[in-house]
């Protein structure tokens, strides 16, 4: 009886070691590729929200080169700001920074691009979320994100909101956007964290500009 138990423990130990080793090896082999994919994706998103278009059909490497030429990554006080540059590689055309917060099912990560005067939105993209495909997951779709482009960044009304998501088809005011049908939960959460993130980051960016570091 005792021998059997010892064998069970030893067997479980050995088989766990063997299988996790194989999985770890596969992970190690592919780690760089996964990291490159993720980096390329982030670079593509930063370019997109800054309105810097890569020619259609560009490869990952070409997008990466464009990013290196036109975007300067600045680390300030533990935050990353992506500074978009014009084709002359000197004139600042905008800033991009990450926005994130809890969604309906899990955290949502996005990137927003704004003009150098911090007055208007250039573009926005949401790239990581756990929302329901086809419902809340539609925050990544173009019709939704395109609504943000060109909006004035002014905190207005009760609660000092930058954006208000309205029932689809009823948005009229300058800071109003159409929410997503069937995904009120996601829309409400998104509005909440976007307003909070902007309310926090915009004054900080202004302060950095005043200091002359941006």
């Amino acid at each position: 009886m005792n021998k059997k138990r010892i064998f069970s423990v030893a067997y479980m130990f050995a088989i766990t070691l063997a299988f996790t080793s194989v999985v770890s090896a596969i992970h190690l082999v592919n780690q760089d590729k996964i990291k490159t994919n993720e980096r390329a994706r982030l670079q593509g998103i930063v370019l997109e929200v800054l309105g810097i278009r890569a020619p259609a059909g560009s490869t990952r490497a070409q997008v990466s080169d464009l990013f290196d030429a036109r975007v300067k990554t600045v680390q300030l006080e533990g935050r990353s700001v992506y500074v978009g540059l014009a084709a002359d590689a000197r004139t600042v055309i905008g800033y991009a920074f990450g926005v994130s917060g809890p969604g309906f099912w899990g955290p949502i990560f996005g990137m927003i691009g704004i003009d150098p005067k911090l007055e208007r939105v250039l573009g926005i993209a949401f790239y990581d979320h756990g929302e329901t495909p086809g419902l809340g997951g539609r925050i990544t779709e173009h019709w939704f994100t395109a609504q943000f482009a060109g909006k004035r960044l002014e905190a207005t009304g009760p609660g000092q909101r930058y954006f208000t998501l309205k029932r689809p088809g009823t948005s009229q005011g300058p800071n109003e956007l159409d929410a997503i049908t069937g995904a009120s939960g996601t829309s409400n959460k998104l509005e909440l964290f976007l307003n909070r993130n902007l309310g926090d980051t915009l004054p900080w960016l202004r302060a950095q500009q005043a200091k002359g570091v941006l």
Binding site: K4, F7, S8, Y11, M12, I15, T16, F19, T20, V22, V23, I26, H27, N30, K33, I34, N37, E38, R41, G106, D128, H129, G130, T132, P133, G134, L135, T181, G182
Partner: protein, 202 residues
């Protein structure tokens, strides 16, 4: 292994004892990933791979694995294959990996895989176990694709993301949401149990 026997195992797993429509297993993911056909297809392929490979491994180790810890061993094996699928998707199909999100990881909890390991692979040689795994995985994928076909068509007016119905098609929002999957799956199970082979009386 005789070809006839392989075919028999396949038909049994794919149709006669279809995991979703007859055994009512794997329902959670059948409800969760069936509103878009592309996601469903990749999910189905991933599940076929994990079920087949887990079956093979469990079968290969069936004579050495102590019976009392076999469940732990099965979970370990299944989890390893699922992580491999996740890594491979992330590395080579990053777009699809993102579309599936958490559902790939949730293959671990799919009852079909453990059901086949416990119900078939544990007591059968490697080759029949492989066929059984592929058959059950394919049976699962087929039912899910059927559910997804109906849901995406009525819910979005598209198939595999390509619009097929006129633009003024009124989307059945309920089809996109979980209750839609309950209705469609329920109807399919009802049809299969009426039109399909009658379960043999024990």
């Amino acid at each position: 292994m005789a070809k006839a026997k392989a075919a028999q195992i396949f038909i049994k797993g794919f149709w006669e004892e279809n995991p979703v429509s007859r055994q009512i297993l794997g329902i959670c993911s059948a409800l969760a990933v069936t509103n878009l056909m592309t996601n469903t297809l990749i999910m189905g392929v991933s599940l076929i791979f994990v079920t087949a490979m887990s079956n093979v491994t469990v079968s290969a180790l069936r004579n050495v694995t102590p019976a009392r810890i076999r469940m732990m061993v099965q979970v370990l094996i299944i989890a390893c294959y699922v992580i491999v699928v996740d890594i491979v998707l992330k590395a080579y199909l990053p777009d699809i990996s993102r579309a599936l999100g958490p559902y790939v990881g949730l293959i671990i909890t799919n009852c079909i895989i453990m059901g086949r390991c416990e119900g078939f692979a544990r007591g059968n040689p490697v080759w029949p176990s492989l066929v059984d795994g592929i058959a059950c995985g394919a049976g699962y994928a087929a039912v899910l694709l059927l559910v997804a076909f109906i849901r995406e068509l009525l819910g979005f007016g598209s198939l595999f993301g390509v619009p097929v119905l006129p633009a003024d098609w009124t989307r059945w929002t309920i089809m996109v949401m979980a209750p839609g999957a309950f209705f469609v799956l329920g109807a399919i199970i009802w049809l299969v149990s009426n039109l399909g082979p009658k379960p043999k009386k024990a």
